[in-house]
Every structure is written in structure tokens, then in C-alpha cells.
């Protein structure tokens, strides 16, 4: 379990995160939503150990400040929003970097083939020899996800659950790949790992989240199941946008929901 209590982050003189507290369970997909500038990514960076914070964050009971980088690398993997490279690495070489800490959890003979398996999982089979810089933004994002999956290939290692932190994993993806990526995250959770994802798409959130954390102005506004959290008045208050949950558009106006996918 990942547990935050009274976590605050100050960047410069501005308090970005104010007294955030919530738990993210193993076996569950926890989705953080909130408007731009509400502190989602900053909170993720604090969770990742990139930013100084006050309060307390623990991973499986271990306080974040006491863990070495390689110990944290064995417990969680992090997908950043985007990654640019200045050297001509092939896709496979990038994915293989996920094995840097050597705790994928796969047996040694399988480990060498993990990059290819991970690439197939994110629907990039056969992309191994392509140059990363030549791919589209969405393809690059999926390569990075494959890398991150290699790092924590087994969702449970030594009896301890492991975690995936995904910062807007579907932001640059087409609808098919949005669904594929959310399925991967869902499967990671059902196999015993924990996932914390930042999403902007409330429909995907409703479809896949076990728990939703709503952020607003640097504070945790509410935590609950999608049904509990996604309400008209909360969306109006947090997003400052009058939307009706569950309202259908007029007849003859086409709309496509991810929920309608036949998987």
C-alpha cells in the first residue's frame, strides 16, 4: 500500500500541495483527476521521490525518505508524461533500460526476452529495431510504458506488491491504444500490483478506476469510487464547468464512449 498523510509540497514560495492524505491500495487502480494546475503531477513527483515534501509518504510501510534509489526502483516504476532523447537509441534499447535495476522479477532466461514481450503488450511488436526519435508521440509514450513494465514485470515480488505510477499515460494516444493501456494497468492491479494514474478523461476514469482521488487547488477534494465522486455539483465546483453526469446528447448527435468497446 502507498500511504500519504499530511503531505505538503512548496516550490519556490508557493505551496503547490496542501496537506494531502490518501491511501492507494495494492490490487487497485487509483486514478487522480483534477483540473490543470491542481497539483496532480507535483503530487506524483513527490510520490516518486523527486521533490522534497513535508508530511509522510510510505510504500509498503517504508517511509520514502529512508529508501535508496535502487530500493525504490524495485518497488515502483514511473511513466513520465513524455521523454525526449538526444542519442539515436533503438526502441528495444530503450525498453531494455527498464531492466537496469535488475529486479524485473522474471527469471534470468526470460529476462532477455522481456523487452520484446513488453513491446508486444503495448501493441508495438516488431518495432524493436526502429529508432525512438523517429516514432510519433503516442508510439514513444507506449515504448516508455513498455520500459516501465519491464522494471516491475511481476506485480508482486518477494510477497510485496509493486506499483506503477502513470502520469497521463493515454494523453497522446488514439482510442484503441487508450483502451489497451488502461487494460494493461487494470491487469497489473488484478494480479496484485498497485497502480496510481493521472487521467484527464473522466469516462475512462469511470470505466477503470477502483478509486478516484479528486484534486482541487493543491488539496485532496475527495476520495471514493467513481460513482461516489463523479457528481454534477463536484464537477461544477472543481472543474468550474456545468456538466451533467450521465446525460445523453440530443438524438442524431453522434457520441462515442470508451465503455461501448467490445474487448
Amino acid at each position: 500500500m502507498i500511504s500519504l498523510s499530511d503531505v505538503s509540497v512548496v516550490l519556490g514560495r508557493k505551496a503547490i500541495i496542501k496537506e494531502a492524505s490518501f491511501n492507494a491500495q495494492a490490487g487497485a487502480l487509483t486514478v487522480i483527476v483534477g483540473p490543470n494546475g491542481s497539483g496532480k503531477t507535483t503530487l506524483m513527483r513527490a510520490l516518486s521521490g523527486d521533490l522534497p515534501f513535508t508530511g509522510r509518504i510510505t510504500i509498503n510501510g517504508h517511509p520514502l525518505g529512508h529508501l535508496k534509489p535502487w530500493q525504490m526502483a524495485a518497488m515502483r516504476a514511473i511513466l513520465p508524461q513524455s521523454t525526449s532523447l538526444s542519442f539515436p537509441f533503438t526502441v528495444r534499447e530503450i525498453v531494455r533500460l527498464g531492466l537496469t535495476s535488475g529486479r524485473s522479477g522474471a527469471t534470468h532466461d526470460v529476462a532477455e526476452n522481456l523487452p520484446d514481450e513488453a513491446l508486444a503488450l503495448v501493441d508495438l511488436a516488431g518495432f524493436g529495431r526502429r529508432f525512438y526519435q523517429e516514432l510519433s508521440g503516442g508510439e514513444q509514450q507506449r515504448v516508455q510504458l513498455a520500459r516501465v513494465l519491464c522494471q516491475v514485470w511481476q506485480p508482486v515480488l518477494d510477497g510485496q506488491p509493486r506499483f506503477l505510477f502513470l502520469d497521463e499515460p493515454v494523453s497522446s494516444l488514439d482510442i484503441k491504444h487508450q483502451l489497451i493501456i488502461m487494460q494493461i494497468a487494470h491487469a497489473f492491479a488484478t494480479r496484485g500490483g498497485g497502480v496510481i494514474a493521472i487521467l484527464h478523461d473522466l469516462n475512462l476514469t469511470s470505466m477503470y478506476a477502483d478509486r478516484v482521488v479528486v484534486m482541487h487547488g493543491g488539496r485532496i477534494d475527495s476520495v471514493g469510487t467513481p460513482a461516489e465522486v463523479l457528481t454534477d455539483d463536484r464537477i461544477l465546483r472543481v472543474y468550474e464547468c456545468a456538466l451533467k453526469v450521465g446525460a445523453l446528447p440530443d438524438k442524431h448527435v453522434p457520441f462515442v464512449l470508451p465503455q461501448s468497446a467490445v474487448m
Binding site: 525504490m72 526502483a73 532523447l85 538526444s86 542519442f87 537496469t100 518495432f127 524493436g128 526519435q133 522494471q151
Partner: protein, 371 residues
């Protein structure tokens, strides 16, 4: 030996009935490293025989095999001195310097996540030169205690300190939150280089005639005057840097994703960067202390290799060391023979070839590099 290295993966492959995964260049890289090793050996033998004095290959090799005190008078006393006291130290030192120039370039490029970073281009070599020149000119006066402390090692130590200080300044100026601005780095390098040159100019003004002769040699860069004593003082720095560099490969690969992602992969980034900076400073400082500013090896060699084996630093670093050594020996052979019996400073040869190459890299990357 090379054959067994090349064969091993093939055996595994046939055993598993699988082909090598697409996009995995490690097999190619290992093969290239073996070939570069053989090429370096050939270049060293060739260099041993090339020069103003004619000493043909076979007697030289047999002299090497039998040792200096051989009773067999295949070599005249004169040839023996040329081989043992002039050419051999020069070749070994030249190979070490070529390797350290290329490795310090490759490490710096990985550290700054930027293929244009090179100790010569961004002013770090100038910093090392400033340290060395300070010792030469002020060694009898202000810096006498420094000389007393480090005795024979004063020159490489001073060059190391100069390189270290300049690298740290450059890093502080050009890098913010783990992201290096290419433009800021190159401009900071120009400023640092100019600053070092100004101080070196001032010291030149203070220098006496004997010191002036020593100083001229810094500005051009030369392997002339290589001897066993220089190797004994600068060698340890170079050997240390070259021995540590293979352990930087994994971390530099992770760093290519950015500092945050490298840390998420388990690399202790701050400590790793300190080690990498010390390796760059040691390699640059020692090579500048011996040979002055030999430019462009550090940017040309890693770039050529990335085109062939890719940027995986686990292979790029040893391959750079081997190719850097070979190329510098070839450049030295050219500099020794092209105007024989006189010789050209090697810095002129590497700059004449390397600078246009650098422009070509800039041209190729103009579209991708956002200045």
C-alpha cells in the same frame, strides 16, 4: 580469441532455435570492439616503425620480443634508443591520451545528454591548461608550496584541478533541474575558454624565456617530448579514469532518459554525476598536462561510433577508448612524417580534420537540435 567471442552468441542462438532480437545491437558492438582492439595493436606496431629515422618493422618487433638487453645486435645502439626511449613511450602515452580524450568526450556527452559536449569545445581543456600553465610559470614563486606538496605530480594535479573546477562551473551554469540547455552550455564554454585564455595570456606575459618555450607547446598540442617520466606522472590519472569508465555505462544509458527517470530506474544520480565529472576531469587534466590541447578527438570518435554501434554506453565507452587511441596514433604518425625531419604539432592535425567534421555534425543535427 576473437573468434570465440564472436561465436558464443551464435551457439546460444542455434541452441534455442531463436534469432537475435530486432534492434539489439550488442552483438554488433562486441564484434566492433574486438576489431578495434586488433586495429589498435596494428596501429601501435605501425607507429613504432614510422618516423623520421628509418627503422624497419621486423628488427623492431624482434627487438621488442627479445627485450632491450638482448645480446643480438639486430638493432644498432642508435635505433635501440629511438625505439625504446623515444618512440615506445610516445606510442604508449599517445594511445593512452587518445583513449582518455575520446572517453572523456563520450562521458561528458552522456552526462550532459548532448552529443556536442566535449572538454575541448566547452572550455574544460582550457581550464586544465590554465592549471598546468600556472604551475609552469608560478611554480618558482607563488605556487612553490604546491610544487613541494605534489613534486613530480604537480603538473597533472594542477591540470586536473583546473579541469574539475571548470567542469563544475559549466555544469552549474548550463544545467537546471537536470536539463542541460545546449545553447547555454556552448556559450558558457566560450566564456570559460576566453577566461582561461586571458589568464594564460597574462601568465605568458610574466613568463621567462625558458617558460615561454614550454608554453608555446600548450597552445599547439603535441606529443613531442613524451618520455617514461611523463607517463609515470600522468599515467595513473589516465589509467584510473579508463578503468572507472566502463562502470559508468549503465548509469549514462539511464541518464539518457533524464535525471528523474534515471533515478526512478535505481541510479543514485547525484553520486553518479560526481563520479562522472571526476572521471572527465582526471582524463582531461592528465592528457592536457602531457600533450596540451589536442582538440576534436572527444567529439569525433564517439560520434562516429554511435553511427555504427549505437549510443549504448556499455559498448560506446570501451570502443571510444580503442578508436581514440588508434586515431591519435595515426594523427601522430602523420604529424611526425609529413614535414620530416621536422614535425608538426599533432593539435594542428586533429583540428584540421576534426573541425570540419564538427561542422558536419552540426549540419546534420540542425533540424533536431533546438538552439
Amino acid at each position: 580469441m576473437s573468434e570465440s567471442v564472436l561465436m558464443r552468441p551464435a551457439v546460444l542462438r542455434s541452441g534455442q532455435g531463436k534469432t537475435r532480437p530486432e534492434g539489439d545491437r550488442s552483438f554488433l558492438a562486441k564484434g566492433v570492439i574486438v576489431l578495434l582492439g586488433l586495429a589498435l595493436l596494428a596501429t601501435m606496431l605501425f607507429s613504432l616503425t614510422a618516423g623520421a629515422s628509418d627503422a624497419s618493422v621486423i628488427p623492431v618487433i624482434s627487438a621488442l620480443v627479445r627485450g632491450a638487453s638482448s645480446d643480438n645486435n639486430v638493432l644498432s645502439l642508435r635505433d635501440s634508443i629511438i625505439i625504446w626511449d623515444i618512440r615506445l613511450p610516445r606510442i604508449i602515452l599517445g594511445a593512452m591520451i587518445g583513449a582518455s580524450l575520446a572517453v572523456s568526450g563520450a562521458v561528458m556527452q552522456g552526462l550532459f545528454r548532448n552529443p556536442l559536449a566535449d572538454p575541448g569545445i566547452v572550455g574544460v581543456s582550457a581550464g586544465a591548461g590554465l592549471g598546468a600553465v600556472s604551475v609552469i610559470v608560478l611554480g618558482g614563486t607563488v605556487l612553490a608550496p604546491f610544487i613541494a606538496t605534489f613534486s613530480l605530480f604537480a603538473l597533472p594535479v594542477a591540470a586536473f584541478i583546473g579541469a574539475l573546477v571548470f567542469t563544475l562551473i559549466l555544469y552549474a551554469v548550463a544545467t537546471r533541474r537536470g536539463q542541460t540547455s545546449i545553447a547555454t552550455m556552448l556559450l558558457a564554454g566560450i566564456a570559460l575558454g576566453a577566461m582561461a585564455m586571458a589568464y594564460i595570456g597574462l601568465l605568458t606575459f610574466l613568463a621567462d624565456d625558458r617558460q615561454l618555450r614550454d608554453l608555446t607547446f600548450w597552445t599547439l598540442g603535441s606529443l613531442a617530448g613524451s618520455n617514461w617520466a611523463k607517463m609515470a606522472t600522468a599515467g595513473p590519472f589516465i589509467v584510473l579514469a579508463l578503468l572507472v569508465s566502463p562502470f559508468l555505462g549503465r548509469g549514462l544509458n539511464a541518464l539518457a532518459l533524464g535525471e528523474a527517470s534515471a533515478s526512478h530506474l535505481g541510479i543514485p544520480v547525484q553520486r553518479f554525476k560526481r563520479v562522472a565529472i571526476i572521471v572527465v576531469a582526471a582524463a582531461t587534466g592528465a592528457s592536457v598536462a602531457v600533450s596540451g590541447g589536442i582538440g576534436f578527438v572527444g567529439v569525433v570518435v564517439p560520434h562516429l561510433l554511435r553511427l555504427v554501434i549505437g549510443p549504448d554506453h556499455r559498448y560506446l565507452l570501451p570502443a571510444s577508448a580503442l578508436l581514440g587511441a588508434s586515431l591519435l596514433l595515426l594523427a601522430d604518425a602523420v604529424s611526425r612524417t609529413i614535414v620530416a625531419p621536422s614535425e608538426l604539432p599533432i593539435g594542428i592535425v586533429t583540428a584540421a580534420v576534426g573541425a570540419p567534421f564538427f561542422l558536419w555534425i552540426l549540419l546534420r543535427r540542425r533540424g533536431i537540435v533546438d538552439l
